[in-house]
Every structure is written in C-alpha cells, then in structure tokens.
Symmetry: C2
Subunit: 237 residues, 2 copies
DNA sequence: GACAATTAAATGTCTGACAAATGAAAAATG
DNA sequence: CATTTTTCATTTGTCAGACATTTAATTGTC
C-alpha cells in the first residue's frame, strides 16, 4: 500500500516548510514558475497547482507582469480571522457538535478575556458595546440581526482585552457559533433578558470590575445553554 | 483599478460556498473535472487549480480510478488542529508578536479550561501529565525536548476539559508558542521550579480543586513571562 | 462460480501555445 | 536635456490536447 502524495502536494509542502521555517522571509520573491519547474523537474502545471495550494492558505500572493511572480505573504490577523471562522464553522456543522459543547467552549474562552478587558477596554470598545445594545433593543429586529449584533457585542468585549492573539483565537469560537444561535427563536422576553445582561456587563466593564463581569458571563452562559436546550428538546419531539 | 480574482479562485469560492452552506453534504462526490470545466466553461487546468485550493484547506479529497473523483471531506478535529497550529505559528513569527502577548493569550485561554478540567479530567489525562513531569525531570534533556514535554503536559490539561472545541481552539495557542519558548535557555533552577509547579497543578487536578489550579496557572504564567522577558532584555543589549 | 483479461472512467502529469499584465528600457519628441 | 511615448521582455493566467496511472466494473474463460 504505497501512499505517495501528488507531486504538487510534495512541492507545496517543500515550499511551505521553507516559509514556516523562516528560510523564505516575508515578501521574498519565489523563483518564477518556469524556474521552479526546472528545479523540481516537473511541468509548469504541476508547479502551478502547488502554488495554488499555498495561495489558498494565504502563504503566498502572486502578481502578473515583468517584475511579478509569487511572493511570500505576510499573514495578517485579518486573513487568519477569516480562515479560522470558516474552519470553525465547518468543524461545528460537519461533526455535529452539540450546542451545549460549543456554547461551553465559547463562554469559557470569553471569560478568559474578561479580566483583561475589564482592565484595558477603551472608550471605543464601550461605545461599540452600548451601540449594539441599542440595536438589540429595537423591536422589529430579525433573529438573524439580533444574533449578528450579539456577536458584535461579544467581539467588542474580546477586543477590549487588547491582545490580538486572543482576539484571533476567539474569533472562531464566537463567530462560528452564530449559525447555531440562529436556530434559536428569541422571544421578546428572552431578548429583554439578554439585553439587560449585556447592559450590566457593559456597566461592569466600565467600572473595571472583573469579578462581576465574570459572574455575569457565567450567568449568561447558563441562560444561553438553557435556551439552546429548549430548542433541542422541542425539535426532538 | 480592476480587481477581478483569478478564475480558479472564483470557482474555488463557488464550490467552497456550496460546501459551507451545506449544499454539498459530506462525502458527496463532485462532478468530474471534465464536467466541472463544462459547467464553468473553463479549461480543465483551471478547474484543477480550483480543486487544489480546496484540497489545501482539507475541504475535499480526491481519489483516482473509475469510481474516483473529488469528494467533500469531513473536516476532522485532527485536520483542523494541524491547520490551526501552522497558522498560529506563522502569525506569531511574521507579525513579531512579543513573547509576553503570546504568553498572556496562552495562559488566559488555558485558565479557561482549568475549572472544566478539574471537574472532568480522567485518570488517563492525569497519567499523561505525570509521565511528562517525569520526562521533564531527566537531567540530560535538551531545551527542545523540555519544551515539547511542556506542551504535551499542557495539552493533557486542556484535553482534560473534555470539550473538543476547546481543545481545538487551544491547540494553536499552546503549540504555536513552542518556537518562542525554544528561545529560552532553561537553567537547572528554572526547570526545577517549573517541574514543581507542574506537580502541584497535577495534584490539584487530581483533587479536583479548580481554584488552586487557577492560582497555580496564574503563577506559572507570571513566571514564564519573566523568563521570556529576561531573554528579551538580554538579547537587546 | 471462480479467476483472469479487458475496458471504461477518472485523476495525475506533460507539452506547447497564446493572452494579458506590467515594469523597464529604448526611442521619439519638444 | 527632459519628458513622453513606444517597444519589449518577463511573468502569470488560461486553454487545448495528449498520454500515464489507478481503479472498479465488465467481460471472457475455464
């Protein structure tokens, strides 16, 4: 049972390793496709397939023209966010992760940010949170918009920690859960309750009271899990 | 300044959207390359480049032969781990994330797992942690091996929470920091200290004492940050 | 029915060609 | 000489067609 991967996969791996190891620094130009095909002794199509693999991971970017070519791409947090969110969303949907598990992960991680956010959140973060609370209070809002605003609120909380690495890690957990949340029908009463909790969380962050934020997040986690479970038991009938 | 992406990128996006939206379910076979090239009205090479992009993200797998083709791949947690770790490592190295920031994120996230792990860790998790502690106590161990064992120890702690979503999110934070940790030269004294802390953490987990685990992790976070900073100030000279 | 050879379908790879973009050099212009 | 225009070489993007390889189903043979 031989298991030789495709040539294009091998070549992609070879170049990827060079990038990850730092052997090919950011903005370095790779040899042209023609040169690469000579170096690896394969056709240009094979090289191109390898390069497309790397491009899909945002490891390189390509430019046409005389001074063009493939360049090692600086992976931005923005790029990474996007990838993380798609991957997380697929993980949840394809592996039938139940709502409670996803919810637990999300709030556990969010609570990890809370103390830092209580300490460092700027006026901007607070303003964003207040604005989202206002949006959430609008009567005619669709469930989807309510969820989106919920995500934006929590994003602001996470970003308030002022640690881009944390924000990146949390992006997946917070945003990937949105499709699952969208399956919940929010009653007027549950919306009121959530908005009230958000307000208290924002107040506590404004007062830099990490302990209360943590307590409120724990409460909100329980409440959200309950909402999710009532949906699950209703659809199981 | 027109900004039309490549055809292969467009096609990849089209198929990716179909997968993410659930329009193409797991294990569904995509049309053959020939059929796709007809549908999208492009050449087979272009279709292939699109498929390679998707393969790079583990969204599809391909099989040769009569009943072969491209199939929608179930994204496993294992696959996602790998991608997360590479991405996180690149983010840290390419954006010159300082050790303190990375360290802060890592321990904040890890502390999020601690209460759950104290409650749910199995005997297996404890055994793994004890085994790694033993390895870390070996005198002749290289710095790299010490770091690797450190990562394994913390992985076991995180996995103890029994939430695969958490484990996935944490994989990046914990493992991507390893290269940064590798730059630290661990003195015999600092190793002893870390091993002692690990032992106390394992003890607290065995006793299901979440509070003590949290306290110890906070301490370990501070200590690790100190070690990192002393390296930074030494190399700044 | 069991086994072997054939066949069909699909991906993997190669070759060669042309289109399009793009910056740099060369030429024309004032 | 300075500036603008033109040409040109380089490189990626796309296409068409061919052949190799793998794999399962089909067919043929005993």
């Amino acid at each position: 049972m031989k298991n030789a991967p495709d040539l294009s996969a091998q070549i992609a791996k070879s170049i990827r390793d060079a990038i990850v190891s730092g052997d090919l620094p950011v903005d370095e130009r790779l040899p042209s496709e023609a040169e690469l095909s000579e170096q690896f002794d394969v056709s240009r199509s094979t090289v191109r397939e390898a390069l497309k693999r790397l491009a899909a991971q945002s490891l390189i970017r390509t430019q046409r023209g005389a001074t063009g070519g493939a360049f090692v791409n600086r992976l931005t947090f923005q790029d990474a966010y996007g990838q993380q969110i798609t991957t997380s969303a697929l993980l949840l949907s394809m592996n039938e992760v139940d709502f409670v598990t996803a919810c637990e992960a999300r709030f556990a991680l969010e609570r990890a940010c809370a103390p830092l956010s209580a300490q460092r959140r700027t006026a901007d973060h607070l303003a964003t949170m207040r604005a989202e609370i206002t949006r959430q209070s609008q009567p005619g809002l669709s469930d989807e918009s309510f969820c989106a605003s919920d995500v934006a609120f929590h994003r602001a909380l996470v970003d308030g920690a002022g640690n881009p690495v944390l924000s990146y890690q949390l992006a997946g957990a917070v945003e990937a859960i949105e499709p699952l949340m969208n399956m919940i029908t929010f009653t007027a009463r549950s919306r009121d309750h959530i908005v009230a909790m958000h307000t208290r969380i924002a107040d506590a962050l404004e007062a830099s009271d990490a302990e209360i934020v943590d307590k409120l997040l724990a409460e909100l986690a329980d409440y959200t899990a309950e909402l999710g479970q009532s949906v699950a038991s209703a659809s199981a009938k």
